[in-house]
């Protein structure tokens, strides 16, 4: 059974058709990378999975459950099963690193403080951070914020982790360390992951499969090698970062496989 399914999802935001009958399937234990230009709807896709957004048409399923049919406690349970790592971290400014990471445990689980502290330490250690619990988010570098956000997302040991541009805005060395972390977490926690990025180095490194989003649809999907050697002109222009090509020229001959 597919872990995550987006079926014919359409979404119009502010008059712009961001997703147009888009379908995507992620199998259990798979790391799927969604690539595409900025503003193409990659983050919007992630937000549909945790129901921060609801589709105008189509359906979203997680482990076979229709996300749109979930309410109250069921929706909370879904949120406990999915960790979303936001692009800018989205750490709560007014809370310390430890309070951020242990937020969901403190608010929604009947756990003793000592147990929460232990879990927070473990989660921070998993992302390579030690003794930072008392720092405020404002005191952290961009890379550390991303790691703390990741630690917060894995604190409940979710089945699914969604990463929104995990390597954007950090230096190449930190970016590589984050890629390694994504790989390690995948192996250690056996999670299903979706990584949204336009950083091809990151995509090749962490992906089991890569899907390219263009004009509201998945126009190509395949293994990293299939994408790397794809003859699809849109994919080719994107992965080579060429300034000229069908994407920028606005041509319409879009094929639907990696070829």
């Amino acid at each position: 059974m597919a872990m995550i399914e987006l079926i014919d999802v359409s979404k119009n935001l502010g008059g712009k058709q961001v997703l147009d009958h888009m379908s995507l399937t992620v199998e259990e234990g798979e790391t799927k990378v969604i690539i595409g230009r900025s503003g193409v709807g990659k983050s919007v896709t992630l937000k549909h999975i945790v129901r921060l957004l609801e589709p105008d048409e189509g359906s979203v399923r997680v482990e076979g459950r229709d996300v749109l049919a979930l309410h109250g406690r069921e929706l909370n349970e879904l949120h406990m099963e999915i960790g979303l790592v936001f692009q800018g971290g989205a750490l709560f400014d007014s809370l310390t690193v430890g309070e951020n990471v242990g937020f969901i445990l403190r608010e929604h689980m009947n756990m003793a403080q000592s147990e929460i502290d232990k879990r927070v330490k473990e989660s921070l250690a998993l992302v390579g951070l030690y003794d930072v619990e008392l720092y405020m988010p404002a005191d952290l570098s961009g890379g550390m914020k991303k790691r703390v956000a990741l630690a917060r997302a894995i604190c409940t040991r979710p089945k699914i982790i969604l990463y929104d541009e995990p390597t954007t805005g950090v230096d190449p060395i930190t970016a590589d360390a984050i890629n390694q972390l994504i790989d390690e977490l995948h192996d250690k926690l056996k999670v299903t992951s979706i990584v949204v990025t336009h950083d091809m180095r990151s995509a090749y490194k962490v992906a089991d499969r890569i899907a390219m989003l263009y004009e509201g649809k998945i126009i190509a999907e395949g293994t990293p090698d299939e994408i790397r050697y794809s003859h699809n002109p849109y994919v080719h222009q994107f992965i080579t970062g060429a300034a000229h090509g069908p994407i920028t020229d606005g041509q319409n001959s879009v094929s639907t496989n990696a070829g």
């Binding site: 979303l84 936001f86 800018g88 750490l91 400014d93 969901i104 608010e107 929604h108």
Partner: protein, 264 residues
């Protein structure tokens, strides 16, 4: 001419629709906040923290302004009363004006400008940096987590602040009456508390409860609906203060008329 009129009516219609949308949003947010008050976790710590921010931290500026208002009120009243040799009534006028009208309204405006703007800026920044979305994905309802503590603390702390403002304003008037106009201290006190009746205090405090709700709900509504980064936060903060001021004065007018005609 026809086109001009059509454009005018369309613009007017758009304004009316946006006003209805705004009022609807505030009422809806208020109802959701009230329904979510008993939901667990109760968040006592957050309510206490907000009560400190809204109440204790606002006390110095509320005290300072209400003291000056008391002094100004006494001096302005003295200007007329001295002509009629009726200085003794200054105490009553200061006390009644403060408890019925100036104390509640001035305190509400100060808190709206200070804490209301702060709430909008804080929630607005949280909205544009995806912290509000993060709350949802971490299983928390942003209205329960962010709005309820601010709504409760504002609704409870504004009446308390107003009581302080009334007392300090009356003290300001007392200083002018006793030390500048040479009214006997005991006489000034008698004229102050002899004139005040329960209704004066009651009507003033009822208004402040409504003002507190208005400040919290408008501030939270504007903050949670911020779009467009830092510029959006700035605009929302301005709109929050402007809208709160207008709604406080409108509510004040409504309640004053209500109490005048129906509470004898």
């Amino acid at each position: 001419m026809f086109l001009l009129r059509k454009t005018f009516y369309m613009a007017l219609g758009a304004k009316v629709l946006s006003l209805v949308h705004f009022i609807g949003g505030i009422v809806s947010l208020g109802l959701q906040a009230v329904v979510l008050i008993p939901a667990r976790p109760l968040g006592g710590g957050r309510i206490f923290e907000q009560a400190k921010k809204v109440g204790v931290d606002s006390l110095p500026i509320v005290a300072l302004v209400s003291f000056f208002i008391g002094v100004i009120l006494a001096l302005q009243t003295a200007y007329i009363m001295q002509k009629m040799s009726s200085e003794i009534y200054i105490a009553s006028i200061v006390a009644v004006s403060l408890t019925r009208e100036l104390g509640p309204v001035i305190t509400a405006l100060i808190v709206a400008g200070r804490s209301g703007a702060g709430i909008t800026a804080e929630l607005g920044t949280m909205a544009v940096t995806e912290q509000v979305d993060a709350l949802v994905t971490l299983g928390s309802n942003p209205i329960k987590y962010l709005v309820v503590p601010r709504f409760l603390s504002m609704t409870f702390m504004l009446p308390v602040l107003t009581l302080f403002a009334n007392a300090i304003g009356i003290f300001g008037g007392y200083l002018i009456g006793v030390y500048h106009l040479s009214i006997r201290s005991s006489l000034y006190m008698n004229m102050t508390f002899g004139t005040l009746v329960y209704k004066d205090l009651f009507t003033g405090l009822v208004k402040t409860i409504v003002f507190g709700m208005i400040i919290a709900l408008v501030a939270c509504y504007e903050g949670l609906n911020v779009r467009g980064g830092a510029e959006g936060v700035g605009k929302a903060t301005t709109m929050s203060v402007v809208n709160t001021f207008i709604m406080i004065i409108a509510a004040d007018c409504f309640f004053t008329a209500l109490f005048y005609f129906f509470v004898k």
